[in-house]
Each structure stands twice: as C-alpha cells, then as structure tokens.
C-alpha cells in the first residue's frame, strides 16, 4: 500500500513550507489555526491524564514501599505468641540462609492505652531486634526525628511523632502504658498476674468464675526518641520497645508475634517461590506449630489497601479521559473544516489522478499527524510537570496562602495557612515514578482516538469531486 505520497502531502499541507533562509514568503510556515488548535487541544487534554498516572503511581509506590519496609515486611510468618527471642533464633538463622531472603527478624506487636500527664491515647507497641532499624530499606523510610531510634532495656520506648503529639509529650518524658494481662482460671484474686515479668500488675483483680479474666498491667516507660515514617495512616500509633520488654509485656490477649522477612526483589513475580523456600526452611525447626498457610506475602497482607488504591487510580484516569475524548472530537471538527478549506486542492489532486483512497489517506494522515504531535506535546508536558510535582505543589501552596491571607485580611478574620500535602493524609513528598509502559498505552489511546476522529472528515474529503474545479473556470 502506498502511504508515502499521502503522508508527504498531508504533512506539507498541515505544517506548511519548511523554513528556509530568506523571509518574504507570504504563507506562514506551521499548521493553520484550526489544526494548530487541535494539536494544542489534544496536548492540553493529555496533561491531567499523564499527571494523574504518574503522581498516583508515585503515591501508591511511596505508600506501599513505606508499608513494606517499615511495617508489613515483604513476607510474614505468623507465630504463636508464646514464642521467645531464643526460640526464634534458630528460625531466623534458617531464614537468613534461604535463597532470596536478605534479612529476617522476630516482631511482637501489642495494643494498649498510653497515658501521659496531659493526655491518653491508643498505642500500638512493636518490639523488634535492633538490626531491623539498620536495614537499608527500613532506614530509607523510618526517619529519626528526635533522640535515639533504638530502645534498650525494659524502660525505654521510642514513639512515633503523631503519637507523641497526641500525648503531648517529648523525648525525656515518662508515659504509662496499660495492657491487658491474662489471669488464668483459678488463679483468682490477689495481686500478681500471669506474666513472669514482675512489672506492676496489681490492681483490682477480679475474682470470679468467668472464663476470661484480665488484669490491667501498668508499665512505665521513658521516651528516648521519636521517629516518623512520613505517612500518618501508617505510623500514627507506633511505639517501639526492646525485645526484652516485648517478651514480658506483649502477650495474650492483645499481642501477636511473627517473623518479618525482607527479600531481594519484593516486586518481582518470584515471591511465590520465596514463600515455598521459607516454608521449607522453617518447618523442620517448628514442627509443633508451623503450617505453610501461616506464610503470607505483602500483596496478600495489604490486599485491601492495594485494591482501594487501584480503584481510585482507575476512576481518576477515567475522569481525566473525558478531556481526551473532547479533544479528539474537537480534532475531528477541526479536520472537517480543514477539508473544506482545502477543497480546491482536493479537486486539483483529483484532476492529477488521485483516487478516493488517496484523498482519504491524505486527510486521515493529517489527522494522525495532528494527533501524534498533540500526543507528543501533551505527554512531554505531563511528564515534565509530574517530574517537578513537588516543586509545583510548593509553589501552588505559596500562591494560595498569599491569596487566602489577603482575603482573610479583608474579611477581618484570621487566615488559616493551607498545607496542600498535609502529612496527616498524604505523603509529604511524592516520589516520581514513570511507568513508561502505561504512558505508552495512554499515548496509543490518544493516537487511536485521533485516528477514529479523522475517519469521518477523511471520508467526506473523498466525496469532494472535481466539479469544484470546473465550476471555477
């Protein structure tokens, strides 16, 4: 099929003469108004699409990476809550030797209530070996804000900044933590709880015949540092204690224990293999409780988080796609006008032997070139804006706050400075993740829509007959 000549004619008619030295040519080089507008239209409509694509991918990756490196790990193996650091050691050794595993720790989690002299709040305590904090993945996202990051002994605790704020405390202050401790049936009243810790577990112990009997255990901690993972949904209630404190405090009923494992390539498809390797490594060491179903990968653990992100992203893309649709229809209408403008040229070409198919190809080609140029423009602009999105947001914030201050001043009210990326709800800094495959898909869609929009005008062009020419002369 001959496409050389239609494209040559289309490109030249659309874009005008190539520039040469020597001004004075009457015709303007470059696309005529309507088609230039169509190029611009497609370009502009692609900007929000590409921006949303890149920024949402960035936020999703930023959030999931944070979760993976600081909380959920890449793979988890649930363990019974009575497991001790000592018991765990042989499992951890075995895991570290497993293919694909880069590191492993035992973590104990427990919930309770923290009380300071000024406030109280829920608290989610985590006890992990110190080497966790030195892992490169963890260190990347867990930032030390104040004091020390690693608690030692039974009395030291490191709080997340959000929790410290809620409790109105800072490094060096004391807090009390209430956890439930299980009083086994029959032990009845009197002081002394079930745990061998010796921490103050006195209180109104309840004597009765009920199946579950819990006493509040009070533990006193000194805050030795505050940390932040940069995302409040993740670290809002965090507090870190040492493994030794965890063993005594974080027990049934409010605690859970598990092995946290990090791998070399968490995003690859090899996670399934690692699951099997982990099972193989651990089962000989814990024959009494280990089952393969206890091993879970991070996509399984954070499935709902991931899915809700995916839905939000799809919806946003769909909405931004409406702009592209409008721009494509716009292109079709501009092309129709272009056809009418060039009726004479069409008649001349016909008299020179152009077939219907050639004429159609010329204008379909013009539509494709327009769409292609617009796509190039829009994708480049979108990528550029997304690359600099953090700077852009900072600039926008500055502008909005100035305007807001101005309006508030006029109204006689204090102005509230607005933070666009409030750390309470978003990442403070959006990482830029360009998935070129997806961008290419968007570009392809844009070009396909342009082609579709060109079909009708191109067909109308082929209907223009040579009689135009005859009538004129």
């Amino acid at each position: 099929m001959r496409i050389g000549s239609p494209f040559f004619i289309a490109a030249r008619s659309l874009l005008g003469r190539p520039r040469r030295g020597g001004r004075g040519s009457v015709a303007r080089p470059g696309p005529s108004g309507g088609m230039a507008g169509a190029i611009l239209g497609i370009g502009i409509s692609l900007i929000p699409l590409v921006l949303v694509l890149i920024v949402s991918d960035g936020m999703i990756e930023g959030i999931t990476s944070r979760y993976m490196e600081t909380k959920t790990y890449h793979v988890q193996v649930a363990a019974p809550d009575f497991i001790s650091s000592l018991d765990a050691r042989r499992g951890i050794e075995a895991l570290r030797k497993t293919k694909g595993v880069t590191a492993a720790w035992l973590e104990k989690d427990g919930s309770g209530v923290a009380v300071s002299s000024k406030a109280s709040n829920a608290i989610a305590m985590r006890s992990i070996e110190p080497s966790f904090f030195e892992d490169p993945g963890t260190a990347r996202y867990l930032r030390l804000v104040d004091g020390r990051m690693i608690p030692e002994g039974r009395r030291e605790i490191v709080l997340g900044t959000a929790l410290a704020q809620a409790l109105k405390v800072k490094t060096g202050d004391m807090i009390t933590v209430i956890t439930p401790s299980y009083v086994a049936l029959g032990e009845g009243s009197g002081s002394g709880g079930s745990s061998p810790s010796g921490a103050a577990s006195a209180g109104s112990a309840y004597a009765g015949s009920d199946l579950t009997a819990f006493s509040p255990k009070l533990s006193f901690f000194r805050i030795v540092g505050t940390v932040s993972a940069g995302y409040r949904d993740l670290d809002g209630l965090w507090a870190f204690i040492s493994p030794v404190a965890g063993e005594s405090l974080l027990t049934y009923p409010s605690a859970s224990s598990f092995f946290g494992i990090k791998t070399a390539e968490p995003f690859s498809n090899g996670l399934g293999d690692i699951k099997e390797a982990v099972s193989a490594s651990l089962s000989p060491h814990y024959p009494d409780w280990f089952e393969p179903y206890l091993v879970r990968t991070w996509p399984e653990i954070e499935r709902s988080l991931y899915r809700s992100f995916g839905t939000t992203k799809s919806m946003l893309l769909f909405i931004m796609g409406i702009a592209l649709l409008v721009a494509a229809i716009n292109l079709g209408s501009s092309l129709s006008t272009f056809v009418v403008e060039r009726s004479m040229d069409i008649a001349i070409l016909r008299s020179a032997g152009a077939t219907d198919a050639t004429i159609r190809s010329i204008f379909a080609g013009a539509g494709l070139i327009t769409g292609g140029l617009g796509t190039l423009l829009g994708v480049s602009a979108g990528i550029f804006l997304a690359w600099n999105v953090n700077g852009l947001i900072a600039g926008l914030e500055w502008l909005i706050n100035i305007a807001d201050a101005g309006f508030a001043f006029l109204r006689g009210q204090p102005s509230v400075p607005l933070k666009l990326l409030d750390p309470g709800y978003y990442l403070e800094r959006i990482p830029v993740v360009v998935n070129f495959g997806q961008v290419a898909l968007v570009a392809g869609l844009s070009i396909a829509l342009s082609a579709a929009a060109s079909l009708v005008p191109a067909h109308k062009a082929s209907r223009i007959s040579v009689q135009e020419l005859i009538r004129k002369s």
Binding site: R17, I348, G353
Partner: protein, 230 residues
C-alpha cells in the same frame, strides 16, 4: 484496455451533454463527432459559455455525459466505471487549465512530481522525471521555488510540466494563456504546440484567441452545441 495505438487518439461519436436546472434543460453539446490521430494538435474555438470547457472536461473524464461514445487513448469512457477514472486521469490525460492550479505549499518540482508519486512511482523516480520535464519547459533554474515566488508564465510552464509527468496520450488545455501577457502567451503557445512532436501526445486546446487557434493542426468551432471544422 488500450487496443490500437495506431488508430485515433480521440474519438467522439454523437456526444450529448445536458445541464439540468430547475428552470430548463440546457443542451450544451448536441451530438459532437470528433476524431483526432495521435501526435496531433487541435484547437476548438468558441465564445464563453459555448461548452468548450465542458467538452474538454468530458474528454478528460472530469465530467460524465448523457449520450454517445467517447474513446480516449483506447479507453471507452462510455463503458468506464467510476473506479477506473483515476487511473485514466493519471495515466492517459494531462490537464492544463487557465489558472495554474498549482498547490501553494509545494515547490514547482514537487508539484510536478506529485501526480507520478501518487500514481505509484518511487519517490526518486518521480522527482527525477519532474526535474527533466521542468528543464524541457525551460524552468530548470526555478524548480525549487514556490508558486507565490514564480511569475505567471513560469507557473503555467510548471503546470504544463505537471500535465506531462505521467506520459499522457492526450493533453487537454483550457484557455492556457488566458491570464498571461502577450510575451508569455506566445512562449506558452510555442511550448504547447511543440508537445505533439516532443512527446507523441495529442493536444486539444480550447481558446477564444484566434491567433492561438490558428497554430493548431486541426481547427474547430463550437457553436450551438455542434462542432464545425474551420
């Protein structure tokens, strides 16, 4: 579909063309008979509106006709389906109009090459052919200029070169010098009437200029829908 090239390049028999309008039916051509051998030239004179343009259009398959037979370069236009028209137009006939009708976005060279390029010739070959033809019409030095940069005479020469690029058997010229001054007109006249010996094509020229008409081998007058030899 072209059989004998030794026979007439153009043959019309009983050609009838009517223009229908709401008020009346205009019988423009009422039974035209014409025979023209290859490599000959013929002029058709007539007042404006007499139908000479129409006759040329029909011979060039730019217009359909209502009755009669027309055979051009072996193609029987009375039997040619719509689909076959482009091939006929690009391969058999070359047009030169009163207005040059060059595409303004393309240089003289590109304008001349386009019909060949569109007909399927490789780009290099089409461009080469165009260059040769422009040289033959005396435009070698001006081939890279755009129509807006050429004089009236130069534009018409380029138009003639374009008409020749696909080696047509028949060249149809409709008032080719109508817009030119005397000097240019003379040059063009010489060029056009030199074409039969230069290319072997048959030339039909429609004009109301007597001087122009008298340079042709065969001369006709078109009046009241009928063709009369002069």
């Amino acid at each position: 579909m072209s059989d004998d090239m030794q026979g007439a390049a153009i043959r019309c028999a009983g050609l009838v063309k009517n223009f229908e309008s709401q008020a009346e039916t205009l019988r423009v051509l009422q039974g035209i008979d014409l025979e023209l051998p290859p490599a000959s030239s013929c002029s058709i004179m007539g007042a404006s509106g007499s139908g000479k343009s129409t006759l040329l259009s029909i011979i060039g398959a730019l217009e359909r006709f209502d009755a009669g037979e027309v055979t051009v370069g072996g193609y029987k236009l009375h039997e040619l389906p719509e689909k076959g028209l482009p091939a006929f137009r690009s391969g058999v006939v070359g047009f030169v109009f009163q207005f040059h009708y060059l595409l303004k976005d393309f240089t003289a060279l590109e304008n001349v090459a386009l019909p060949a390029y569109m007909a399927g010739a490789p780009r290099a070959e089409a461009w080469a052919r165009a260059e040769t033809l422009l040289a033959k019409v005396g435009m070698a030095g001006r081939k890279d200029h755009y129509p807006s940069e050429l004089s009236g005479g130069e534009r018409q020469r380029a138009a003639i070169a374009r008409a020749l690029v696909n080696n047509p058997r028949v060249i149809l010229a409709d008032e080719p010098t109508g817009n030119l001054d005397a000097a240019n007109a003379a040059a063009i006249r010489e060029l056009i009437f030199g074409l039969p010996s230069l290319t072997g094509a048959a030339v039909i020229l429609a004009t109301h200029d007597r001087g122009m008409a008298e340079s042709a081998g065969y001369q006709f007058q078109l009046a009241e829908g009928r063709l009369c030899p002069l």
